[in-house]
């Protein structure tokens, strides 16, 4: 599959009423990359993510997933594509009436024809991969802490062994230890499963630690798309402002040393 970008966005311009969020936005993500989308609040990061995962149709432009156009895609083809990526939603979006194990089984049961025992075994393995203890299997989402919810949601996103993982603010609302563990998990999964990861995040530690490249959204387009070390030196005023806060400088100096 080398050569064809996993995600390719060309000239996308979503509209909410008369509000145009992007105009002619371009983005290309290669196999095995960890890419973050950053930008100020309201710059349309989450909207772009929702367009790529076929929840929202852009009013102009083209989006290709694994080389396939998703804008005019038919339902059967869309279903085939959905098997190949997993999504971690910002609030977890676990089904509140199902236990953690059942949550992970849902996509497996929908897309495969395996016996129930094996479904449960695979789901338990996904929980283990996401770093959940086995005794969390029977818990309901409301009995979980924030970090556990993210991990359970990660286990569900990994259920179908996706090649591509979308993470919407994976570390938001987590304590530093859980956030660090989640970053570690992303790196490990990429290492061992060869995943391509696309995440929306504000977490500077995650940006430095996990990403290969970072796309900066602003002025209704991608104003910079480079590894963190280069992006922070970008003279564009929006990017400079974003990375010129004391917090950003502290994170930068911490990771430059290592």
């Amino acid at each position: 599959m080398s050569g064809v970008p996993v995600v390719e966005v060309r000239g996308v311009a979503p509209r909410f009423g008369s509000l145009v969020l992007h105009e002619a936005l371009d983005l290309e993500i290669e196999t095995g990359e960890v890419v973050a989308l950053v930008g100020g609040s309201g710059s349309g990061k989450t909207t772009l993510l929702r367009e790529i995962i076929m929840l929202h149709r852009p009013s102009a432009g083209a989006i290709h997933l694994f080389g396939e156009d998703v804008v005019g895609i038919g339902e059967a083809a869309a279903q085939r594509l959905r098997r190949r990526f997993g999504v971690l939603f910002q609030m977890g979006a676990l089904f509140s009436s199902l236990s953690v194990l059942e949550n992970v089984i849902v996509p497996l049961r929908e897309h495969t024809d395996l016996p129930p025992r094996q479904l449960a075994e695979i789901a338990a393995l996904k929980m283990a991969l996401a770093g959940l203890p086995a005794n969390a299997a029977d818990k309901l989402p409301r009995q979980l802490s924030g970090g556990m919810i993210k991990r359970a949601s990660m286990a569900r996103a990994l259920a179908l062994d996706p090649e591509l993982l979308f993470l919407d603010e994976p570390t938001a609302g987590l304590d530093p230890i859980s956030a660090g563990a989640l970053d570690e998990l992303v790196l490990q999964l990429r290492e061992s499963l060869g995943l391509t990861v696309v995440m929306v995040t504000h977490d500077l530690d995650s940006l430095w630690r996990t990403t290969d490249r970072v796309a900066f959204l602003g002025e209704r387009r991608v104003v910079g798309f480079a590894p963190m070390g280069e992006l922070v030196r970008d003279p564009h005023p929006l990017i400079r402002d974003y990375f010129d806060s004391p917090r950003a400088r502290a994170a930068a100096s911490a990771y430059r040393k290592t």
Partner: protein, 375 residues
């Protein structure tokens, strides 16, 4: 490695004496056939001493899991031969993670019949005391409101009356009209055989105004408005809006419950009067077409059979029903714990309980009206 292309190659397993040779795509979709036939393979697997992975085309975590299951079926000690380095690493990762997660806890034993009875009784008792506490709290808030009526939020109240009252008029009107038609039709057949046609007026007016109209209106409003109250407050509970109100210093009782109670106290009697008129009109229509009693004759007889007292007995039940519906709806909203499924469950409970209580209270009232001389 993740599958390169979703090819149709399935996973194959050939047991060759002590060597299990794996072939094809050991991926989530590739292993479907193999996993279904797994039980049959188990006995064969016991003699396996080595797993040969040199022919594996693609391996993912589901395939690695199946390989590890094969290993444990073989007794745990096998040689892994011919695996590509990345496949071997994946198998090791899966093995390591499964070990780290530990054993799943033993399933909890099912509850005995006696324990279940006790738990249900305790739950009912707690629910009852909880509702009584809520009732008391609401009554205190209502008293404070009466002492200082300007604290009532006027706009919220008017909006509530519009939503629960005016917007319910079409459905209430249509349904009670039809019930008037049905009652007159059923009773009219019988009266006709005795030539007592004119008594249709007594029957329709009394049944509708004293009993049916208040009850039907209360049931419709419980389903339409009581459920909405539960869902609204329940969702606010889930999103922590109720807690936010408390920390800001606004009593949820004052902001969310009292306007609803007062709105229904106004709307329900008015809806009941409206239903009285519509249901009697339904009866009139049948009386004219079936029993040859003209509209004028019908209306002229009404004052003779329907006393003011009867009208007040009917309409007077409406405020009582209003309080039941509003309080049960709000109380069940506050009982929501957790997420979306809890909102749905409490909404169901809210409608069932308020209709149940309305009918029970109605029965108690009807029996007591007799002894209070309100016949």
């Amino acid at each position: 490695m993740p599958h390169d292309q979703p090819t149709k190659l399935t996973a194959l397993l050939r047991v060759d004496g002590p060597v299990a040779r794996c072939d094809g795509n050991w991926t989530l979709h590739g292993i479907e056939g193999l996993a279904r036939g797994w039980a049959a393979q188990r006995s064969v697997a016991a003699q396996v001493r080595a797993i040969d992975g040199s022919a594996i085309h693609a391996l993912d975590t589901a395939g690695a899991l199946l390989l590890l299951q094969l290993e444990s079926a073989a007794g745990g000690r096998v040689d892994w031969e011919g695996f590509a380095p990345e496949d071997a690493a994946l198998v090791e990762l899966v093995r390591e993670r499964r070990a780290a997660a530990g054993e799943p806890p033993p399933p909890t034993p099912p509850e005995g019949a006696l324990a279940r009875l006790g738990r249900l009784a305790l739950e009912r008792f707690e629910e009852m005391t909880g509702f009584l506490a809520f009732l008391g709290e609401a009554a205190m808030a209502m008293l404070r409101l009466l002492a200082n009526p300007r604290r009532l939020r006027g706009r919220a109240l008017l909006k509530g009356i519009e939503e629960a009252g005016a917007n319910a008029m079409p459905i209430v009107g249509l349904l009670t009209f039809l019930i008037g038609v049905v009652t007159a039709y059923q009773g009219g057949q019988l009266l006709k055989t005795y030539g007592a046609n004119i008594f249709i007026v007594d029957m329709v007016a009394l049944t509708m105004v004293r009993e049916m109209a208040p009850l039907i209106v209360a049931i419709i409003v419980a389903g339409r408005t009581g459920s909405a109250y539960t869902a609204q407050i329940g969702t606010m509970q889930v999103t922590e809006e109720i807690d936010a109100l408390r920390t800001i210093g606004i009593q949820p009782m004052e902001l969310l419950v009292l306007p609803k109670v007062v709105a229904l106290l106004v709307a329900l009697p008015l809806l009941t009067l409206f239903a009285d008129v519509l249901s009697v009109m339904g009866g009139m229509l049948v009386a004219r077409t079936l029993l040859d009693i003209g509209f004028v004759d019908f209306v002229e007889r009404i004052p003779a059979v329907l006393s003011w007292r009867s009208l007040l007995v009917g309409v007077g039940k409406a405020p009582i029903f209003a309080v039941i519906i509003a309080l049960v709806g709000c109380y069940q909203g506050f009982q929501v714990r957790g997420g979306a499924d809890s909102v749905g469950r409490q909404t169901t409970v809210s409608v069932v309980q308020s209709i149940f209580l309305v009918i029970i209270v109605d029965a108690i009232l009807v029996i007591n009206f007799g002894s209070w001389g309100l016949r």
